[in-house]
Symmetry: C2
Subunit: 174 residues, 2 copies
DNA sequence: GCCAATGTAAAACGTTCGTTTTACACTGCA
DNA sequence: TGCAGTGTAAAACGAACGTTTTACATTGGC
């Protein structure tokens, strides 16, 4: 049994549900079913554990948005919130919780957001068959907005964003 | 000199910059220039202090979006991020940090987001001279998205959202 | 059969947490 | 003159923090 994977999965769940700072190491060891000695041998520190969680989450999220149309981006987000729930963006949340002062976390967040932006530009380019950084920025804002509005508005926020993106994309096509 | 106001202002700055959990009471008392005894006499607890911070921030933010057009909403947000910086939504952040388990905070956040949604519906209705809950939801998503995308994309995110809202509003007008 | 690796359980590290308490100084109004 | 109100400074509270250490059990390959 891969201890690191079990630990990372348990940590992601706890960090996401209760926050990074509010989650103590004892809760993590208990949830992962391992001693604190083993935990520290595997991940080194709490911050490095969070960095692993974020890297793994980035991998999973980016795999879901390997698509070729703007509309499919929002369909993927609908799936994502259905599976993962609506607690906002864990990357921005952990960055804000630490004030950007924890290097491992800040770097994982920056890497994810850069890749996220790049991917959106690629999808927009594939959809329009030309680059359109302005539309890409708008799609990024709509995805980010759907993610955070869904916290209190529910899945309706994602559908609203999807419809808005459809209109903006259609308008950009001609 | 009003101690409560000074305390609330100092607390807002620290909570916003470093996070709620990461900010200790000693930092708060030092920044507010008062003893911990006085602090507790005034606000009761750390959670109640955060609730005061959020209520005061809601008052200030809602005053800024007392406008009559959708475009003015985004102009107001541009001003807001210029003055307050781009660290995301303090309401959603504090709610996420506490996992929604701190009643005073959860209530302040819920009240703010309900009022925010209501205000957007009013502004959309005033702009179109008719109610349009679908456009209102899209505007809400764009505002939320601009706020959070601005954390890593800067003020460009707000301009992109503003332009998108302009297109959607114009389309809804006819 | 043994050594190295990998695991657990649990105590201890010193620090910091939010909060309360003790002891005292200043103010303004009766 | 005195007292109630409001403030400070600083110690103390027990609990929890992230991390390390001590002591021991289990494995698999040479």
């Amino acid at each position: 049994m891969d201890m690191t994977r079990k630990l990372t999965a348990a940590a992601e769940r706890l960090f996401d549900r209760h926050g990074y700072m509010a989650t103590g190491m004892d809760r993590l060891t208990e949830a992962a079913g391992m001693s604190s000695r083993t935990l520290y041998k595997h991940v080194g520190s709490k911050a490095q554990l969070m960095a692993r969680v974020l890297t793994e989450r980035d991998r999973r999220f980016m795999a879901r948005i390997e698509v070729r149309s703007v509309d499919a981006l929002f369909a993927a987000l609908e799936d994502w919130v259905r599976v993962e729930g609506t607690r906002g963006c864990l990357f921005l949340r952990s960055s804000a919780e630490t004030g950007g002062d924890t290097p491992e976390i800040a770097e994982a967040v920056a890497a994810h957001k850069a890749a996220f932006h790049r991917r959106i530009e690629e999808v927009v380019a594939a959809d329009l068959e030309r680059e359109d950084p302005v539309l890409a920025e708008q799609v990024l804002v709509l995805l980010e907005g759907a993610t955070h509005a869904a916290v209190y508005r529910g899945a309706d926020a994602v559908s609203a964003a999807r419809a808005a993106a459809g209109i903006l994309t259609e308008r950009a096509r001609t």
